[in-house]
């Protein structure tokens, strides 16, 4: 990364560009109402007006143009009308479609003019179908708005004497990209406008696959050197950090600007190319929270690539996150995905596996609270004097009930129209159907949260009540009711002597396996949803590990008090797949062995094993290589997904005490990375408390 990029990064971090933002959002509601526009036409009008109101910002040296100046996405319906429109329906999260993956190659290969031609042809063919016509008109209006915005940028560049940039902007996004620069610029425009229209968690797809042909041609023709390409890529990555504070998310940084690298082609051939390695290198040099990087690997991935990836992990950004193709692809196929599509998967905002351009999936409709299922089963079963197998049956029943409740709530899902988003999904313009009406894959994802704590609780009960007979059921229940007040000895015994997930101890691991088998079975038993999809079980926890413990309004399941693994009321649960907080484990090998036991063929929604390694691990090339071996071991053991962090506890503690000194400290939170000092205190504390493998 050259001096120019270093200085651009500093300016973006300092937020200089934010002073150019407009103070008030635009208004479109009045004209939508006056004209009595339909929902799709209102969305198109919104995008048109947003594009028109964008002020052109080109820095003197910018080569990737577009800086958002609009502060917000204005409403297109009054609250009353929105309530009427959505009465009796379930809206997912904020409402607008989010967290699906675009097929950006449609844009790069055809250009917006090409996509517009497709829309026009379909419109002629389906002229008798008012719904199709309305959708296609809305899509065309959106595309024209984006092209006009780009034309204004081009004129400004020309006026500034920036003929180099003007040439690019006059070409894309209207025309197909011919060069790496044009491809990046086209992507920057069209990606940003998705956000301007209110959709969110917009990813960048299989970046090394869609972009490589352009870079390869440039390199071959001598238009670009590797170094020049790296600087262009760095500028693109930095640009993704300009507007991200305007993007919605549960916490700052949770914006889903992910990209996926590596893996195999739809034909099954190795897909790693020079751009794969370049992205890893440039992301390391840029060291900002966007884009978040996923790397698809397998047991055969060479240590050289994993070492380059480990150099990125070393930066402490919390990525790349690894997915194991050996496990993910068969799991997707087992859940009804065509093999070619499964091989083309990307990782969504956090960790779910989705197919670019082919899925209108809602990958996170909620999470089963395993601790609640276990807690209810234990309380009822122990009170009834049941044996352990009966308690496990109760857990299964509880998981089923929760899955059914979550899925039923989404049986009335309402997805708002998204005519502009549809432009980049396969088949929408071709068939005159908005993405909200569904695509090839229309599945829902449900995660299982708090799994390690729940398995540990069951393991402690089996060990102490049913095998050792050293603990009476009533005694345990009353101690839990009192939050172990006055029962510190019992709590310590449960916490320290019980079998724990993460130590490769079959006594705990078999129960972890059972919990996910229960979840998979419950999802399968539910059958098809009204949208024609299935329920995909997953191992993630998102924010649920905090919500479950704190009676958050976003949780359907009630708060769980003190639990049988010795956890006190209010303490958070394990995040994703990780040993319970505070549990001492021997280290990463045993932890991988524990989580390798889950039947991942039945679990296809993703959710990573989450590991923190002390930053001291990354000191020299030899230890970098050993860390690469650890990642390869993750794949060889048949685990599904891995999130590896470099973390220094002393630094985190200091950052909590003196946030002013650590403004750039980046940590992995759940499926994303954010600035540590910008996280709410409970998330900071959880990260500090999360198990750290002390290696010195």
């Amino acid at each position: 990364m050259n001096q120019q990029m270093e200085s651009l990064k500093k300016r973006v971090r300092a937020g200089e560009h934010r002073s150019l933002r407009q103070t008030e959002p635009i208004q479109v509601l009045a004209e939508c109402e006056a004209e009595g526009l339909s929902w799709p036409r209102r969305v198109a009008r919104l995008i048109r007006r947003q594009c028109e109101a964008e002020q052109v910002v080109i820095g003197p040296e910018d080569r990737i143009a577009f800086t958002r100046t609009l502060p917000a996405v204005p409403p297109i319906y009054s609250p009353e009308d929105m309530a009427r429109l959505t009465a009796g329906r379930t809206m997912h999260e904020l409402g607008p479609i989010s967290n699906i993956c675009v097929d950006w190659s449609l844009l790069l290969k055809q250009g917006l003019l090409g996509r517009k031609q497709v829309a026009k042809a379909t419109r002629e063919r389906l002229a008798h179908d008012p719904q199709a016509v309305e959708f296609l008109d809305s899509a065309i209006e959106s595309m024209e708005a984006v092209m006009e915005l780009a034309a204004r940028y081009a004129r400004k560049a020309r006026a500034m004497g920036r003929d180099d940039l003007a040439g690019v902007l006059e070409r894309v996004p209207a025309e197909p990209a011919r060069t790496f620069h044009e491809a990046l610029q086209s992507l920057r425009f069209c990606h940003s406008v998705v956000w301007l229209g209110g959709n969110y968690h917009v990813g960048l797809g299989r970046f090394d696959q869609t972009m490589w042909p352009y870079l390869e041609a440039d390199l071959a023709a001598g238009r670009l050197t590797i170094e020049a390409a790296e600087n262009l890529l760095a500028e693109f990555f930095i640009s993704l950090n300009k507007d991200s504070d305007l993007y919605p998310g549960v916490q700052q940084g949770d914006n889903g600007q992910t990209l996926t690298l590596g893996g195999v082609t739809p034909d099954g051939d190795p897909a790693v190319n020079e751009l794969t390695r370049m992205v890893l290198r440039v992301a390391r040099d840029v060291a900002m929270i966007d884009p978040k990087i996923n790397l698809r690997i397998s047991a055969q991935t060479d240590l050289d690539l994993l070492s380059v990836a480990t150099e990125l992990t070393r930066m402490g950004l919390g990525f790349p996150q690894y997915s194991n193709d050996d496990v993910v692809i068969p799991a997707l196929v087992a859940h009804g995905y065509d093999l070619e599509d499964a091989r083309d998967y990307v990782v969504a905002a956090c960790w779910e596996f989705i197919i670019p351009g082919r899925g209108m999936e809602v990958v996170n409709i909620g999470a089963v609270s395993f601790p609640a299922a276990v807690d209810n089963a234990l309380r009822d079963g122990l009170a009834e004097g049941e044996d352990f197998d009966c308690i496990l049956d109760r857990v299964h029943g509880q998981v089923r009930e929760q899955v059914n409740r979550l899925a039923d709530a989404y049986s009335h899902l309402l997805l708002p129209p998204a005519p502009y988003y549809s432009v980049f999904m396969r088949g929408c313009l071709e068939q005159g159907r908005d993405v909200c009406e569904g695509l090839k894959y229309n599945n829902f994802g449900i995660h299982g949260a708090g799994s390690a704590n729940a398995a540990d609780a069951l393991a402690a009960v089996r060990e102490f009540i049913f095998e050792e007979h050293s603990l009476a059921p009533d005694d345990l229940l009353s101690a839990m009711d009192k939050n172990f007040s006055g029962r510190e000895a019992l709590r310590t015994k449960l916490e320290e002597q019980g079998p724990k997930v993460g130590n490769n101890d079959p006594k705990a691991d078999t129960l972890l396996v059972t919990l996910f088998a229960d979840l998979a079975e419950a999802c399968e038993a539910y059958g098809r949803t009204p949208r024609g999809g299935i329920l995909r079980p997953g191992t993630g926890s998102a924010m649920y590990y905090i919500w479950l413990a704190s009676n958050h309004a976003g949780m359907r399941e009630p708060e769980v008090g003190a639990t049988a693994d010795g956890r006190l009321k209010g303490q958070p649960f394990s995040a994703n797949l990780a040993p319970s907080p505070g549990v001492r484990v021997r280290g990463p090998i045993s932890t991988l062995q524990s989580f390798a036991k889950i039947d991942y063929r039945a679990i296809c929604n993703g959710g990573p094993i989450t590991m923190e390694l002390s930053d001291s691990v990354f000191k020299n090339p030899e230890s970098i290589r050993k860390t690469a071996m650890l990642v390869r071991t993750f794949a060889q053991l048949g685990c599904q997904q891995l999130q590896l962090n470099s973390l220094c506890v002393a630094t985190l503690l200091d950052a909590k005490a003196h946030p002013e000194n650590h403004k750039n400290l980046i940590v992995r939170v759940w499926g994303w990375s954010g600035y540590f000092c910008e996280l709410a205190p409970e998330y900071q504390d959880h990260i500090i408390a999360r198990h750290l493998y002390e290696i010195d």
Binding site: G582, R584, R586, G587, I589, S590, Q593, K626, M629
Partner: protein, 251 residues
């Protein structure tokens, strides 16, 4: 079947030998080096560690077969990743019979013995024979100073080093650099002279003093009493080794 006391088992110990390794820390050490950073390794008995993270018992008794089964569960992974098992401590020689029995039960995995060299020669031979690589600590050549700073005579250590050099096993001499104690030119020259010409010696590893050495004492209910100036700059004089033709590394 013998049993032994282990104070920790740590995985992915990347500084304890080649490849991915798991290190078994044997509890109990005959030496009492004033700079020891593993005070919970000194006593042979299990003891309570009280830290910010709560209390825990350091020290678990294992039957040899039980420990071997646990380690064999990882043997394939360690082998595939150019690594193996490291026996460290404390001092493995103090529980030589147990360690030997465990090693005999392990399934073809690289063994590294990390030792102070302080132990009777039969025990030392027994463990060296079973190991693929030996990390041999050498602290002070001067007999009186060794006695003063470690509480032990170094005669047995130097004799075992001689045996090691004729055993045919590859080994590394590791020198903890303690400011003003082991890092003097006099001591380093004496170590270099001792190391020169030892067959099987791969290199000498100089381990700079770690300011965190005293951090565990309070948790172990012990007092850290360094009789040297921790903050004094280290003398990392590698030239002395090069003069004797001894390959040297600084970690």
């Amino acid at each position: 079947m013998t049993s032994g006391v282990v104070f920790d088992i740590k995985e992915f110990t990347i500084h304890d030998g080649p490849g991915i390794r798991t290190t078994v820390f044997m509890k109990g050490c005959p030496l009492s080096c004033t700079w020891c950073h593993n005070p919970e390794g000194q006593s042979r008995q299990p003891q309570v560690i009280r830290s910010l993270a709560g209390e825990r018992l350091a020290g678990q008794r294992f039957a040899a077969a039980e420990l071997a089964a646990l380690l064999n569960g990882q043997a394939d992974i360690l082998r595939l990743n150019e690594g193996g098992i490291t026996f460290s401590g404390g001092e493995p020689l103090l529980q030589a019979e147990f360690v030997a029995e465990v090693i005999d039960l392990l399934k073809g995995v690289h063994i590294l013995l990390d030792t102070s060299g302080y132990g009777n020669q039969l025990d030392f031979r027994s463990l060296v024979e079973r190991s693929d690589l030996i990390y041999f600590d050498l602290k002070l050549i001067d007999r009186e100073k060794h006695q003063h700073y470690t509480g032990c005579d170094n005669n047995m250590i130097l004799n075992n080093l001689k045996f090691l050099s004729v055993s045919g096993k590859p080994f590394v001499i590791r020198v903890p650099l303690v400011p003003g104690v082991t890092d003097t030119d006099e001591n380093l020259a004496a170590i270099a002279e001792t190391a020169a010409g030892l067959s099987g010696l791969l290199y000498v590893d100089l381990l700079p003093y770690n300011m965190a050495a005293g951090s565990k004492y309070e948790y172990a209910g012990m007092e850290f009493k360094p009789d040297y100036d921790e903050k004094r700059p280290l003398n990392v004089n590698t030239l002395l080794f090069e003069q004797y033709g001894v390959k040297v590394n600084v970690e």
